[in-house]
Subunit: 357 residues, 2 copies
């Protein structure tokens, strides 16, 4: 049972063992997506983050125009080789987000395989753990090449926790989520067919009222069956950008902490014994905190965005539709640096419930 309203007991730099995370994702000069969100979030929560940037863009592509370049897949390999040559590749965790193209993703897969085969760090004290955010698209639109989809399917058995959104679940499982039974079928497919131990789907919109969304998570039992829970959260009016990246990076931090609390860091994939019920899983504990943080950050972001958009609507005489879009996009950027306390010391607001189809 969770005491909502309490400040969550949270890791600080001093009281958790050093955790080295390799974070492979995009970087933007201005704004908050990819590593430009997750590095700060994970650092605030006490992790040693090594950020490998797959792209450097001026801003996120939602603005409609941007400059910058993707790094070639060979550069991902080269940077990892440089880390290895200096004994700096002793990672406890790997967090991966947007990787442009199938070849880049294959390079990431090779790194994951190698880190996994080393088993972990510190004489087996921590088993290596990969949080894979299969960034492919959102709201009915793919933003990667379709060639990436089968590569992700091949990588799923290597991942320990995946954080797909609803649309990505549909691409990966070929199951359209139109009912709770569909969600249950997708979870089963992830556990059974892809052997993914932990899954968390940050927000499912189609199954609930317009005022709420539901987050569904599951850690599998030893027989591969799901142990699933849901957390219902008030819907904050979008659009927001970078929320998937923020959710994944908060999950990396808090799942690590919850698994440490439960004494599971030396277990394969930090799996809980079968006796632990769904709502008592470290994954549920982490998700409650993560969603509590997200809720506050998005509330602050939404309020600031609405003030800015009101100002734009009253004062912006620009006739150009693309300039309007650019200004709206900027207004909607996450208020990340204004939310240090919400990230470091969130109040628990939500409680996991048993999932029923």
């Amino acid at each position: 049972m969770t005491n909502t309203g309490q400040t969550a007991a949270l890791p600080s730099g001093d009281d958790i063992p050093p955790t080295r995370v390799l974070s492979i994702a995009s970087h933007v000069v201005s704004g908050y997506v990819g590593n430009s969100v997750s590095t700060f979030v994970m650092q605030l929560l006490g992790l040693e983050v090594c950020s490998l940037n797959t792209v450097q863009f001026s801003n996120h592509t939602g603005y409609g125009r941007w400059t910058g370049t993707r790094i070639p897949p060979s550069e991902i390999d080269a940077l990892y080789d440089g880390l290895k040559a200096n004994e700096l590749a002793d990672f406890d965790m790997l967090a991966t987000g947007y990787v442009p193209g199938d070849e880049g993703l294959e390079a990431v897969g090779r790194i994951a395989k190698e880190l996994k085969s080393k088993g972990g760090t510190g004489g087996g004290k921590t088993r290596f753990f990969w949080v894979l955010d299969p960034v492919m698209g959102d709201s009915g639109k793919l933003y990667v090449s379709e060639k990436v989809v089968p590569v992700y399917k091949n990588l799923l058995p290597l991942a320990d926790l995946i954080t797909p959104n609803q649309y990505e679940v549909e691409w990966l499982t070929d199951i359209k989520l139109t009912s709770l039974a569909d969600v249950a079928a997708a979870l089963k497919k992830f556990h059974n067919d892809f052997k993914t131990p932990h899954i968390i789907i940050s927000s499912i919109q189609s199954l609930v009222s317009d005022d709420e969304f539901v987050c569904v998570g599951s850690s599998m039992n030893t027989d591969g069956t799901p142990r699933a829970f849901t957390i219902t959260v008030p819907m904050l009016r979008g659009p927001f950008v970078g929320t998937g990246d923020m959710f994944a990076s908060l999950m990396v931090s808090h799942f690590r902490h919850a698994a440490a609390d439960a004494g599971l860091l030396d277990k394969p994939s930090w799996m809980s014994p079968d006796t632990v019920k769904a709502t008592d899983l470290p994954l549920a504990r982490a998700a409650e905190i993560v969603l509590s943080s997200m809720d506050r950050v998005l509330k602050k972001t939404g309020e600031a965005r609405d003030r800015q958009i009101k100002f734009l609507d009253e004062n912006d005489t620009s006739k150009e539709a693309d300039m309007k879009r650019v200004r709206y996009m900027r207004a909607a950027e996450l208020r990340l640096i204004h939310c240090v306390e919400e990230i470091r010391r969130p109040c628990l607001r939500f409680t996991a419930k048993e999932f029923h189809e």
Copy 2:
């Protein structure tokens, strides 16, 4: 008069006006130099940081081996153009660190000129301010091409605050610092010949006892004469890496705050009236806080480093000298994420004194 021992009144995300900083410096995947230090530091202190990475290396070059690439100078221009196209180049401040090569530095100079010519943001409420860290070398060793030196000299009149180390002062002024009179001459030369309004030299080692170093700062009077102060700080045994980057990024944050407190943000180069004496300058106020933060971060870093090096010396049977160096380098990385409170809420430990030759 400063009350040492008090927690400094510090900016938080909520109570300072939004400040957008373009930070142009290097990025390393593992460890803490360049933007890999300064982004986190400035974000912790409430600034909106836009990080433009001039290189992406696996680790800093002090390890002796590394992988990764420098971005070409044209890419610096392109990224800035992307920001402009989206109205994202409305920066209050520019912070520049390591830029590889003279052409890259010239690109940075063009950006600085353009931002300066726009004058500032918010209807003249904030004058644009450039903190230039002329990263060239340290401890008698240049780590840039000599061709960079004249480019820096050309750029000095555009900068508002420069943060050179002792070695860089010597390169820029052609004055060897062997006495306080030399330091005074260098400050005069910066103010008079280069028209640089604010200078802070983080640590001068040769002039004081082995147990202390002295930080010297000066803001010029309207007639171009220096108003100089010193802050004496206990010497912590090095080696440390990334301290120059940390010092500069803390100065960006705290000088902005001190200038805001003094109501100077709309003044050219945030200059104080001539009636303000050296030890009451916002530059002095900022430096006291910056050095207090640095002292704590370096103390924590030094203790952790010494424990790790003791462990290595007792257990490391590696005969390879280069592997030993690599392990020592890693042991000396800044304990940045363990020092969130030391950065956000430092206790004031030092007081500026009038500079006397």
